[in-house]
Symmetry: C2
Subunit: 208 residues, 2 copies
């Protein structure tokens, strides 16, 4: 997500008062705090601004929409907390990655944040694009695990890594949005095992 109108800095040197980084942090932190509360307090621009001790215009100076603020709060945490693992085997990599992912996304606050971001992505095309781009990074991280396994000769040819990736993130998002089943780390492990087998499985007659 673009952070404000920094492009005019290219034309002339900056003068005047500088942006308040503390306000930026307060806004992002307040979003997570408000969403995390048990009472279903409304997370509106007004409540965010009030709780952060900030004017509404300060929010819109830094982000193009409310959804963009939510997305950045989410992105900060997701990109930080789930680095791609390297255990040496596909099974190990997958289990590590999926357990960490399910653990993070399964926390109540994060789950609610994800839901809200996905809603905004459906409502506003610009948010849709930004969200798609974030999710592409996550998919790419997971696909990398399969590709590395392929380079090691660990997987069968002809398996479609994109489908494997969508099966994994599909379960995650489907459960978060529908809420019929929790995102447990046990299910992450089970899923990792299934996807490993799916990637490794040989076509009939293919040498192993």
């Amino acid at each position: 997500m673009q952070t404000g109108s920094g492009d005019q800095a290219a034309r002339r040197p900056h003068t005047g008062r500088r942006r308040n980084e503390a306000a930026r942090r307060a806004i992002l932190d307040v979003v997570v705090d408000l969403i995390g509360r048990d009472d279903d307090a409304p997370v509106t621009i007004d409540t965010i601004a009030a709780a952060a001790g900030v004017g509404k215009q300060t929010i819109y100076r830094w982000w193009p929409s409310k959804g963009a603020v939510l997305l950045e709060a989410m992105t900060e945490r997701a990109d930080l907390d789930i680095p791609p693992p390297d255990t040496g085997t596909l099974a190990g990599d997958l289990e590590t990655f999926l357990r960490a992912t399910f653990h993070l996304a399964g926390q109540a606050t994060m789950a609610r944040l994800l839901r809200k971001v996905m809603v905004e992505a459906q409502l506003d095309p610009q948010m849709g694009e930004a969200t798609r781009s974030f999710l592409a990074r996550r998919r790419s991280a997971l696909r990398g695990l399969f590709e590395r396994a392929a380079e090691r000769g660990e997987t069968a040819s002809g398996t479609d890594p994109d489908l494997l990736v969508d099966q994994a993130f599909g379960v995650l998002w489907y459960r978060i949005l529908v809420g019929h089943a929790p995102l447990t780390e046990a299910s992450a492990t089970e899923l990792a095992g299934a996807l490993t087998a799916q990637a490794v499985r040989r076509a009939p007659g293919e040498p192993g």
Copy 2:
């Protein structure tokens, strides 16, 4: 979704003007028509009422919210168009079911309808419950295929049908909501093959 206040009929015989079934049909049809249009015309209660030639109150007399109308329009089509198949093998059943499901959900109008319903489900707890209940029916239909295969002794013990089901619908919803990849029938077939193998796979040492 409950259809209006029919419960007072239990107390005394109905008198007065009856509900207009034509208006009900017009409303549901107009919703699909509006959503299907290429121009992203707003699908609001006002535009629905106007296009259906109906007063807004008539909509709210029959449905508790706008989301409920969308959900019913969706439900009508989904329950109708995807009967559980019975080809005799898990592989055949799965492929038939998933191809039909992906085909229906992959149509532009249906996909947009699904997106809107999912958004409403996130925004309104009552809609969340109603949507969850619809999706539970779809999951149950798919899980039935696995359970029948298990009764035939076709699948391995210890595979979790709920995870298999969530992988299938997960891919569907993830792709619909994120929009990074289309829902092709080819991918349905590939997914059916993968899930079949997952269900049939034997644990090491388990007799086949």
